[in-house]
């Protein structure tokens, strides 16, 4: 899976993105965020506030229940502030 991080999530984790292989028991975006949080350190810090992390699966907004697989591009970022 291709993971992308933007804005404060990118800054806290210290990476713009990474390639990962999903564990077998991670099937949706909520499970992915929980699994990343269990890595601890900067991941736990970046993803600590549940209301503060948005998820996009293949460049479309998703939610905790949106299915994810190793073929997907998943982005994690804070609420948007353009315009």
């Amino acid at each position: 899976m291709r993971l992308l991080y933007f804005a404060s999530v990118r800054q806290t984790i210290g990476l713009a993105g990474e390639e990962i292989t999903l564990p077998g028991d991670v099937v949706d975006a909520g499970g992915l965020v929980d699994w990343l949080k269990r890595r601890g350190g900067v991941y736990a810090e970046a993803l600590a506030q549940p209301g503060h992390v948005r998820v996009a699966v293949n460049q479309a907004y998703g939610h905790a229940g949106t299915p994810v697989t190793d073929d997907d591009e998943v982005a994690l970022f804070p609420p948007v502030t353009g315009g």
Binding site: F6, R10, A56, Q59, P78, P79, V80, G82, G83
Partner: protein
């Protein structure tokens, strides 16, 4: 039409292009977003806009298509910049054209309200007092929500 670019844009030229492209329009509405002076007192400050290439264009296109479904528009244009900007710099331009003013004005307000809460852009401010990611505002969510259909 949508464009995501680092470069500045020429408001008059963009509006003229839309005006000259149609013979049946009677109204052109526009919105220009400009970088505020965050530091105050003439002290240096800057704003850097980060975006999600690919998804940004996709979301802007979706929002633009939604406006065209809701209002009888002759033309619409969204230009949004990214990269490092300074106070007074233009960030975003929205132009809508229609036969009548209500459609043009409402569609223009809709586009900027939805863009602010849906297009994946993030603002990072730097001032002499420090730097910070701009927080999303509940007021912007309220503004976008008034266009939600039940």
């Amino acid at each position: 039409m949508i464009r995501v670019q680092a470069e500045d844009f020429d408001i008059a030229a963009e509006m003229e292009a839309i005006a000259s492209n149609s013979t049946s329009l009677g109204a052109i509405a526009s919105f220009v977003g400009v970088v505020r002076d965050m530091a105050g007192g003439g002290r240096p400050s800057s704003m850097t806009l980060e975006h999600y290439p690919g998804m940004t264009e996709g979301m802007l296109r979706e929002i633009d298509e939604e406006a065209c479904r809701r209002w009888p528009l002759e033309a619409s244009l969204i230009i949004h910049r990214y990269g490092r900007l300074e106070p007074g710099d233009r960030i975003v331009l929205v132009v809508t054209a229609s036969a009548h003013r209500h459609a043009a004005l409402e569609a223009c307000a809709f586009l900027i309200d939805w863009l602010k809460t849906k297009a994946p852009f993030w603002k990072f401010e730097e001032t002499p007092d420090g730097s910070r990611w701009v927080e999303a505002r509940a007021l912007d969510d309220d503004a976008a929500a008034r266009w939600e259909k039940e």
